[in-house]
Symmetry: C2
Subunit: 473 residues, 2 copies
Amino acid sequence: MSETPDNAVRTYIDRHRAAFLDDLVDWLRIPSVSAQPGHAADVRRSAEWLAAKLGETGFPTVEVWSTDGAPAVFAEWPAEDPSAPTVLVYGHHDVQPAAREDGWDSEPFEPVIRDGRLYARGAADDKGQVFFHTLGVRAHLAATGRAAPAVTLKLLVEGEEESGSPHFRALVEEHADRLAADVVIVSDTGMWSEDTPTVCTGMRGLAECEITLHGPEQDIHSGSFGGAVPNPVTEAARLVAALHDEQARVAVPGFYDGVVELSDRERALFAELPFDEEQWLRTARSTATRGEAGHTTLERIWARPTAEVNGMGGGYQGPGSKTIIPSSATVKLSFRLVAGQDPDHIEKAVRSWAADRLPAGIRHEITFGAATRPCLTPLEHPALQSLVRAMGRAFQQPVRFTREGGSGPAADLQDVLGAPVLFLGISVPSDGWHAPDEKVELDLLLKGVETAAYLWGELGDLRDPAESRRHAP
Amino acid sequence: MSETPDNAVRTYIDRHRAAFLDDLVDWLRIPSVSAQPGHAADVRRSAEWLAAKLGETGFPTVEVWSTDGAPAVFAEWPAEDPSAPTVLVYGHHDVQPAAREDGWDSEPFEPVIRDGRLYARGAADDKGQVFFHTLGVRAHLAATGRAAPAVTLKLLVEGEEESGSPHFRALVEEHADRLAADVVIVSDTGMWSEDTPTVCTGMRGLAECEITLHGPEQDIHSGSFGGAVPNPVTEAARLVAALHDEQARVAVPGFYDGVVELSDRERALFAELPFDEEQWLRTARSTATRGEAGHTTLERIWARPTAEVNGMGGGYQGPGSKTIIPSSATVKLSFRLVAGQDPDHIEKAVRSWAADRLPAGIRHEITFGAATRPCLTPLEHPALQSLVRAMGRAFQQPVRFTREGGSGPAADLQDVLGAPVLFLGISVPSDGWHAPDEKVELDLLLKGVETAAYLWGELGDLRDPAESRRHAP
């Protein structure tokens, strides 16, 4: 076998994998649980550990950025060619809470390797996936003989993702100049399965609101008044019932305005994925599917906007009964948004829909929280094609496409920086994010290293880096 | 003015009113709050006080009946004529909780008379209205020269009405032979207003249920699964929304089976009442009416069956938001029933309605509590006519007809004893039942005495006491 660049990358990775894993295990020992105030010092220690390691990796600039919450780590390694594209990698160094008694087979913060898997809280979400970029860039340099990467490489690793990234947008806005990039690579997702390497091309956005309905000034007797005045719980239920039509489409007028529909090619690509609906239902802890008519389950969760009620309450909820007409009711709704939908427009549409439906005698208030925009990179986007080529070289298999139904802080990077977002993740559904016995498959972790090693060359080869911007949604 | 029987009654009442009020004040000093365990001894003391007073009044038989909760008082005074009708008077000697700091102008258990009103907890609900029967029967005997009443008079005064009468049905069943009666007179209601004496002809029944819907086995992520599996809160809302049609009629198939519709005469009689909807809305703490098409507010609350949601909850109800598809939802429903409706039939109808509407993937359970049947005495019922004549003699005004929208333990008496239920109450809406500064109007209290004094003669004149039974609903 002749020495190709790919062989050189693999040889380098083989030679350094033991030290790479030792380092990762060290990092995983730090219980950087952002949701638990008692671990604040650990989260800071985790940031400092990473900053030191990125310095050792060779990044000329490494900084720990304070926020009003937990610190983030920023690193930058400029390309030699000033016209090379700039790439920003996003990840996070905080982890979900974990305790042995939750059902772990071993201590969550004492990493162990069993059967080719590394078990520890954060192994897949997200320390493992952040960390493969360190060996990845070293392998890229070793295999290409460069002193600096083929792209200007920036890393932003936040410390509050598991707490809802409350200060992330402000952080990105504050440092927008330092973070400026042609492409954002998010390494905080997964792929279809061990056997099916995939690239995620977008995430849904999110708009959330709470609607409170007021009827009588206080709870009143259902015998004396029942059947003769409006009941705010009934009206809240009618609003929720009216959210969808009989086709399970969202019935708020204007909700679908601007929605980028799936192309025939995208639908065909979704359909090619080895999707087992029974298996999926088990993951959903559900016994039947239900959703928008004319769409498959994958289309529904990845590419269609939705309305869900996340919580609802009003009147008496204790044991037994209480014969009242309740004074008020509250509904919490969330809307998943897809490319082309504008959260401000959705807010306006929901406000007028609710106002139009409520009868005399019912007063209401609606509060919207901060929205997250959807992100979607078209299949033909050159940067996405670069990522697919890099992953294909690492996995030596065809790479397929997925999307992510959830919503994440990556959308803030897209928004503030105006750059398209690509997703490079090697985690698989069995990795147990947020669950006991979280693990990462070592083979896949090293494929992540290898993909990163190829990716900077692939992106550096883009003739016109500005092209990416023109394709941003 | 010649000495008519009515003059004789009035003279007797005038002569004894001071002692009557002193006694009532004594009784009102006993804080017989059945809902507060610390007052259990007071509730027993109240029963014993009443038993002693009924003995002094002349009832040959007086007993304190124990229950698994608070004691009831039973008294019986047989008519001399063994073929005379038997009448059972129902009331209660327990009261709602009360404390000066709730907004009372004087101590709730230190009765005071101001401006012709007696202020105390229990003054109207229900001690005052029970107690007018003591002076009433004495005035009846004095004015007619009888040694025993013209009817066999029984009293049953329970001690747990303000706690939902949990042991009342069992008590009535246990003592059904002793309580047997041709007519039941409930003195625990009111009349239209100070200026408008009325007789209530019925109460609505009540069926209550709780429906729990189960979707995913646990809360699941609305990003990963939203839009593709059924949401139990959405389905609960759809059930509630489907309870009524666009005419605000209850849409459960079979719900109206057997309903005794209002006659044109009854509707006309309701319409003659001086009803002020704006005033009623203030009492309802509401700003608009809403109810079954084709019916007035009074018809809706008195004579039409209803479905109300009393409480509902599911998913996240804390501050902020949580992007989940909730695992379950619960709905508490109550149905007010009118004459002709059968609670067992309603339960069956609701069960199949719910089962038919819920989609695959949603499991549900329905629990029904003990139901209360409706009671209604037809306008032409001879015993009702006797009551109207007695009240007309006392008030010297035309007596009109009302109904009661709520439901009460009187229905148990109707059920177990098979006797029609009539309502003799002199309380008015401003009396403040369950509220601070509860009071009774002394003039009306004495009209209650007077009505009772005439009523036993009127009922004793009924040619065929069994006639009442033939008119029972």
